[in-house]
Symmetry: C2
Subunit: 135 residues, 2 copies
Amino acid sequence: MTDARPLEDFGPTDAMVADVFQRDCTSRQLLEAVTGRWGVLTVVGLRDGAVRFNALRRRIDGVSEKMLAQTLQTLERDGVVVREVRATIPPHVEYSLTALGRRVADDLTRLIDVLEGATVEVAASQRAYDARRDA
Amino acid sequence: MTDARPLEDFGPTDAMVADVFQRDCTSRQLLEAVTGRWGVLTVVGLRDGAVRFNALRRRIDGVSEKMLAQTLQTLERDGVVVREVRATIPPHVEYSLTALGRRVADDLTRLIDVLEGATVEVAASQRAYDARRDA
DNA sequence: GTATGCACTTACTTTTCGTTAGTGCCACCC
DNA sequence: GGGTGGCACTAACGAAAAGTAAGTGCATAC
């Protein structure tokens, strides 16, 4: 943010005011990275500090190595997570959150609390819906 | 929630304590419905009151009719949105949020505010990342 | 010296998604 | 009164994404 972007770098679809409802807005890309299939669990999984790749993979039940790697790369590119290679013997890789990542993780954690608290209600709603459908 | 679920209805994977990190937890299903490809925008798009199908579709840039219909059905089944047919002439359909939906929408709105406020930072991060990769 | 863990990448399959077209009904326009 | 368009979807098909399995090179543990 220290250097301004020249005006000609702004394309026609690159609105001045960010809006996730707009298809080509940068914030929409970020939303998809963060709330994609494995984005939420990845970000929240890094909330309590630096975690190694395979530890994170074990924490997030169901994620494949491929998808975790891909998700982490996208999030790193977007400035949500940081990848660091520790020069230990043997060397290992640690992932952690940026300042932006921590803000995102806080919001997502609040969301998850709501969702986890709603499971009984949701299961009941599903049963009622399916009963209506079957009839 | 007025009637208790018999103990035998709980399967082995249906933990007593909800945890989104567990693959088979109901809360994980709900997380995927809410944060799926179009879930976030659908829920937040209903935040200011009842909206008709095609109005919502116009609001969410890029969504297809098929995916919006599918997303709304899943969210209805999970008890996040309500579908109501108004008996006007001609009749029309309105979607709105449940109490749970409103709580979810509030959290998601806070998240979106963070994301929309981070676009410049994110664009810079992307450029830096790509420059590193190209080198 | 065999097995396992680490942090990935690549090739292949399956699932999901997007695109297009079609449905029946009604209102509006000229 | 015949054409156009909106409404709220569903169905069929090709394209994109995700899941699965195996391979990589190095290092430690047994």
